[in-house]
Amino acid sequence: MLKCRAVWRKLAPLARSASTQCRHNVKTALNNGRRQAFVPATHMSTGPAGGGGSENTLYVVLVGAACLGGGAYAYMTVRGDSKRYEERISELASRSAKEAPESQPPVAPEPEEAAPTSEESAPVAELSGETESASAEEPVTETPPEAAEQAAPVLAEAEPVAEVPPEAVEEAPPVVEEAAEEPVTEAPPAAEPETVQEAPTEPAVTSLPESAPAPEPVSAPLTLPSHAPYLLIGGGTASFAAARSIRARDPGAKVLIVTDEPNLPYMRPPLSKELWFSDDPSVTETLRFKQWNGKERSIYFQPSSFYVKPEELTSAENGGVAVLTGKKVIQMDVRGNKVKLDDDTEISYDKCLIGTGGVPRNLQVIEKAGDEVMNRTTLFRKIEDFKSLDNVSRNVKSITIIGGGFLGSELACALGRRSSETGLEVIQMFPEKGNMGKVLPEYLSNWTTEKVKKEGVRIVPEALVKSVAFKEDKLEILLKDGRQVKTDHIVAAVGLEPNVDLAKSAGLEVDSDFGGYRVNAELQARSNIWVAGDAACFYDIRLGRRRVEHHDHAVVSGRLAGENMTGANKPYWHQSMFWSDLGPDVGYEAIGIVDSSLPTVGVFAKATSKDTPKAATEQSGTGIRSESETEATAVTPVASSTPAPVMEHKDEYGKGVIFYLRDKVVVGIILWNVFNRMPIARKIIKDGEEHADLNEVAKLFNIHED
């Protein structure tokens, strides 16, 4: 086209001059030929009108050539496109043929031929229950109606055939995903009319090699959904809770969970607690544990039969929850309401939840220490980490846990318990003075550390790691104060880095104080986007902005996000709780802000002979001390006799309640070895009142009873 234009431009002056010449000739002819009868005008463009004639011919020739050129170009383009399409189809067919054990003949790619052969495959199928899936194709491809009809009967037939060999269905999804990717990706950018027409026939074509030889493992032309009304990014606790909430409130909802892990949604707490205490040697495979009430269950929230297959989601009559495993969302287009996966497919959504959680942090000194050290370091978070650590713990002589928080202490106790059987050395080191130093007040943290030691753990407190090296088949950890620890394997439990990878592409705000996506009290980040779980930095209308990394919070916030995604508009109000077990003596539940830097008031049940058998044998002669403080708190009349001897030297914090105060208001409560009282604790935090005497508040908990 451009060539023609350029040529025309060059010739234009020529043509113009030719035409003016013609006109000039005409005028002179007219003037001259007045006496003549014929009209010279007719001779202007043709005939023997001298020099004008030849130029006219040239003009004609040029225009004709331009038209011919344009037509030829258009023809070539169309041909090239259809050729490209054919090559693509045959490539697809050969790829899916490679997946199936036998190679199948490459399919004749012409769209016209596909139609008659699809009719042939019709008698192969028996059922036609899958007609809904045909309608699923329509949102995928913008098709002219007749093309859709063509595709529909083919799909209807091909699917039942695919389901006939049940074992093949297992193999089919990975194949389907790959084969089906192409129609999905090709359809949306339907720039040229050819691709639109071709798209519906693509599934038809891919179905042909499979439908013909039925007994072979067949890949059905089921496409992954390109649109999900509810899209949940991340397959953890928050996403699952949201899915459940959405399904409960929106009947027939279709929920798609996209996760980069290979597992269905599971709960994390047993990975560092109950699973380690199981007597079952195959626990790493079954992942089943015994609950507090004696009943056994799997860590998976629901077995796989609960979920709908992603390919069947769009057509499912009553909706359902589908989990797309092994796929990572790498980009978000907020204005276009769609996400892009790591395999270049796009999924559009109406409402989206980001539940991406986080990745374990590592120490910089370990990362810089080289491969030998990194290979012997575990960052504990997922099922695979549990399996590998379980394996390691059976094969090495010494494990060091760096970190004194929840995860580190729980793992230390779990491994310490195992050490009594295997002779494994378990070391735990952390910068604080005692276990849970950032959570428990100092006296309690020290007491807890003694308990952890009793579990068989060697504690190295106030330890700052300076460097780690691999020497003589051992890991040498050098601390800043000069101490050295030699070990075989390291478990780093030094915190969680919230996963905010999508913030940039989606234009979402990240909180600088707490990390994570910044969301409002209703957990909303932007229109149609909510965030829940570890990754959400949200506004708690009672306790202020915070980010919580606990299981129950993931459940509560996931459930709330699900409610808000279905139109509820409720703020974060129901306080989540958390719990931890450290060996047989120490177990606690907590709620609210539990930060050891806050002033605390702890009310403990005084040790009686019932609580600590040891006390009964001791005879502490001195009487009861009763110190009255400046404020009139906790001073009850001193009785002359005491029912049981009191341990004077070592306070036994057997059970009690600890209140965390901020500006005299209780913002956090720990129930220390007392259970079933969480609703009272929740109520106190919800009230947000200033209580003059916290001992009176403690009475509400009945700590002396079981």
Binding site: F306, V308, N318, G562, V603, T636, D693
Partner: protein
């Protein structure tokens, strides 16, 4: 008698059973039953069923969710003398659906559906045992049940 000591910013109080025998004089704010923010039990203040109640576990959201909702709604609003006697069809549908997913709805469910027609659900009723046991999510925040990992 209790005794008390201060360690820096932390106060520690030891109390005996007798110390705590007298009723508490701590004032708690009265609960507003119509608080829209609060977690609700199985039945909402307006009488509707709260399908999102943790006590229901996965019943309303699973593959048989719609059948369960129909059956339970019918039962809830039933005004018959024998409550739910007009809902037999719905319960049968639900049972048929559940039989298709034996690992989701273990066969004890058979007894479940029968007892459900007899038991009238209360606001804070204890949930059917197999439902609560099969669901950890219920442990966290249902008003009656604050056990861990139930």
């Amino acid at each position: 008698m209790s005794y008390c000591r201060q360690e820096g910013k932390d106060r520690i109080i030891f109390v005996t059973k007798e110390d705590h025998e007298s009723p508490s004089n701590a004032e708690l704010v009265a609960d507003d039953p119509n608080d829209p923010y609060d977690e609700q039990g199985l039945i909402l203040p307006n009488g509707d069923i709260n399908w999102n109640c943790p006590c229901l576990g996965g019943m309303a959201s699973g593959p048989c969710g719609s059948q369960f909702k129909e059956a339970f709604s019918c039962f809830h609003y039933s005004k018959e003398e024998v409550k739910g006697s007009d809902c037999i069809d719905h319960f049968r549908n639900m049972q048929e659906c559940m039989q298709k997913y034996p690992d989701l709805y273990p066969q004890e469910e058979e007894k479940e559906t029968k007892t459900q027609t007899e038991v009238v659900p209360d606001q804070d009723s204890s949930p059917p045992s197999s439902v609560s046991d099969s669901d950890v999510l219920s442990h966290s925040s249902s008003p009656t049940d604050s056990q861990r990992a139930s």
